[in-house]
């Protein structure tokens, strides 16, 4: 009996310890990266260009590049994800082959490694579509669209983030009570009217959460853009969709692994990592709060 009690208590303690380890690791990473970069974290760091061969100056172009990337990505992935979620939750019959196909595809898509998306972007957008457009429109034999650029990188990233949007919009759609739908239909509204006027307004928070989560994901991933448009250093900000761009995550990767003088740029690396971490961290924090409030509202 005594032994049993001891065993029971130790299970609780060990499992609580696991929680503690994970959460302290999380806090430690945050602190470590903050301390490493805190001397560089000034307003000027965020708003100035890299100087002296990247060993000084700020990360402004990398921030702009990341923002442009996620904006174009969102324009593509949020509508597609939202509409897919609406189809799956409102129109699709659970047993139809088409629905099963789409569900299967969404699950698969969320499991495809990020680097494979990068290869796909290279093979499909750049080598196939881009090069095809070049051949069809331009006759100068130059590369216009058939090379890595902002648009292709954003679209590649959009494919990666579509499942994120779908999952969170669907969750919101499911919490819209069927009574509301039935009420609207009973008053003579058509299905599309019901969806447009009742279902979507009631699940706006889910669409917002999905967008935020997708942006956080898109801002943090590097592998998909490695060969679809990112550049180590550019003297100008991207002006058009066919320009290459700089990116926070890629900036960290290159500075930390391929820079000629890693020690000299250590502070900049830490500061960049901190900015990126805070960006993705706060985005998912905001998403979490919206979701939490929404759930509370539903329960009440």
């Amino acid at each position: 009996m005594m032994n049993n009690k001891l065993l029971g208590r130790s299970i609780v303690i060990v499992s609580a310890l696991a929680v503690l380890i994970i959460i302290s690791a999380l806090v430690y990473i945050l602190l470590d990266i903050y301390i490493g970069g805190k001397n560089y974290l000034t307003w000027g760091f965020l708003t100035s260009n890299p100087k002296e061969g990247m060993t000084a100056g700020g990360i402004f172009p990398a921030i702009v590049g990341t923002v442009l990337l996620v904006l174009i990505m969102s324009v593509a992935c949020v509508p597609i994800g939202t509409i897919t979620a609406i189809y799956l939750n409102e129109y699709a019959s659970k047993t139809s082959v088409f629905t099963k196909m789409i569900r299967f595809a969404v699950n698969t898509l969320s499991g495809v490694p990020a680097i494979v998306f990068g290869l796909f972007g290279l093979g499909f957008f750049i080598q196939f579509i881009g090069a095809g457009v070049d051949k069809a429109i331009y006759s100068d034999g130059q590369l216009h669209w058939g090379q890595p650029n902002l648009l292709w990188a954003s679209l590649t990233m959009a494919f990666l983030t579509i499942p994120v949007v779908i999952v969170s919009v669907e969750e919101a759609l499911r919490t819209v009570p069927d009574d509301l739908r039935a009420g609207a239909l009973a008053l003579g509204a058509t299905k599309w009217q019901t969806i447009r006027k009742i279902v979507i307004p009631n699940s706006l928070s889910g669409i917002l959460t999905g967008t935020i989560l997708a942006i956080g994901r898109g801002a943090g991933e590097v592998a998909p853009i490695l060969f679809t448009g990112v550049a180590y250093f550019l003297p100008h900000l991207p002006q058009k969709l066919t320009d290459q761009f700089m990116n926070l995550g890629y900036h960290i990767y290159v500075m930390a692994t391929q820079s000629t003088d890693v020690e000299a740029t250590k502070g900049i690396q830490y500061a960049t990592a901190f900015i990126l971490l805070i960006l993705t961290f706060s985005l998912s924090f905001v998403a979490m709060i919206i979701r939490y409030r929404f759930r509370k509202k539903i329960k009440a």
């Binding site: 499992s15 959460i23 595809a105 995550g249």
Partner: protein, 348 residues
């Protein structure tokens, strides 16, 4: 009377509204995107890797003629073709993408006599992934047990989001942390010969898979019907006995799924391994030596290859391999385990 009723029903349902028709079909068409995406990914990754599957054509024909033949349907422009000719001109006879070439024991893609043996990369991926699972899974599963079965409701509402916030850490940041802090720490504690090695990479990658294993396990544990544990408690079992001998066994398939998903995630992970494993393609099973994984190889080398040459093809082949492997792992996790879980809960 009955006929009349059916008629009126039909006339109601047959009333055609253009806006409704358009809305439904546009929505249906757009939602097809995800499926199309999978097909496209599959098609285009394999398309670039195609010469591996058809090595005969490439060997048989003379270089210039064959290039335009093989890529005849390729809408790619002339610069690409000229690059390919350049590549084929500069590559020796052994620089052919074939299965014999891929089963060599060495990965040495650059040089006089390039070798494209995938074995060291495969071993590297396995080593790093298994280490990540060994470090991450126990922590994640224990944490899930605590928050699902022992923690008070309020505490759970703090723990769960906190651990899930770890998922928002970009892998490049985790890789950076591993490169800067973990590697230095381990080297000073264990005195590693190589600062960056499979062990460091595995520990770093554990951070990336903890959230997914935790979340899926937690879901599996909370999905076990309440009457399971209520019955057990009513029979006089203690809280932890119930947790360990009733809830845990019922949720085993879910935990297994969590492990599989974690494995899939780790196997395809790129940035952490690219930064923290040292990237040397060695075929040893020593976990304290540097490794180069399949995914990191693509990330490191793709930017430097000539479009269309053998190295390029092999990298796409590795991508195809990663796609297929993660696909299979996820499919097993999805179908087999879910079906088993459902069956168990229905008491069949």
């Amino acid at each position: 009377m009955q006929n009349k009723k059916r008629d009126s029903k039909n006339s109601l349902s047959r009333k055609f509204r253009l806006s409704e028709f358009l809305a439904e079909n546009i929505i249906k068409a757009v939602s097809f995107t995800s499926f199309a995406a999978i097909i496209l990914i599959f098609a285009f990754v394999f398309r670039e890797a195609a010469p591996i599957f058809f090595p005969q054509e490439k060997k048989a024909l003379s270089s210039e003629f064959q290039q335009s033949e093989t890529y005849g349907e390729d809408p790619a422009d002339s610069p690409k073709n000229s690059l390919e000719e350049y590549a084929s001109f500069h590559s020796g006879a052994s620089d052919v993408a074939s299965f014999e070439n891929l089963t060599q024991k060495e990965w040495q893609p650059v040089g006089e006599n390039p070798k494209y043996g995938l074995l060291p990369l495969f071993i590297g991926s396995l080593k790093a992934t298994i280490l990540a699972i060994l470090f991450g899974a126990p922590l994640a599963i224990l944490a899930a047990i605590y928050s699902a079965l022992f923690a008070s409701k309020r505490l759970r509402e703090i723990i769960k989001p906190a651990i899930e916030l770890l998922a928002s850490f970009p892998s490049v940041v985790i890789g950076f942390f591993a490169l800067m802090t973990i590697a230095t720490f381990f080297q000073s504690v264990f005195g590693f010969t190589y600062r960056l090695n499979a062990f460091t990479g595995g520990v770093a990658m554990a951070f990336a898979i903890i959230p997914i294993i935790y979340t899926v396990t937690e879901d599996a544990l909370t999905a076990v019907p309440k009457y399971f544990s209520e019955a057990s408690l009513a029979l006089g079992a203690t809280k932890w006995q119930t947790a360990l001998f009733v809830v845990m066994p019922a949720a085993t398939p879910g935990i297994f799924a969590a492990l599989l998903l974690g494995f899939g995630r780790a196997f395809g992970e790129t940035m952490i391994l690219l930064m923290a494993t040292g990237n040397a393609p060695l075929s040893t099973f020593n976990i304290f030596e540097p490794v180069r994984t399949l995914s990191a190889t693509i990330g490191a080398e793709m930017a430097e290859v000539v479009f269309g040459d053998t190295h390029y093809t092999v990298l796409f082949f590795i991508g195809a391999l990663l796609f297929v492997i993660t696909f299979i792992i996820n499919a097993i996790a999805e179908f087999y385990v879910r079906a088993k879980l459902m069956k168990r809960f229905r008491g069949e």
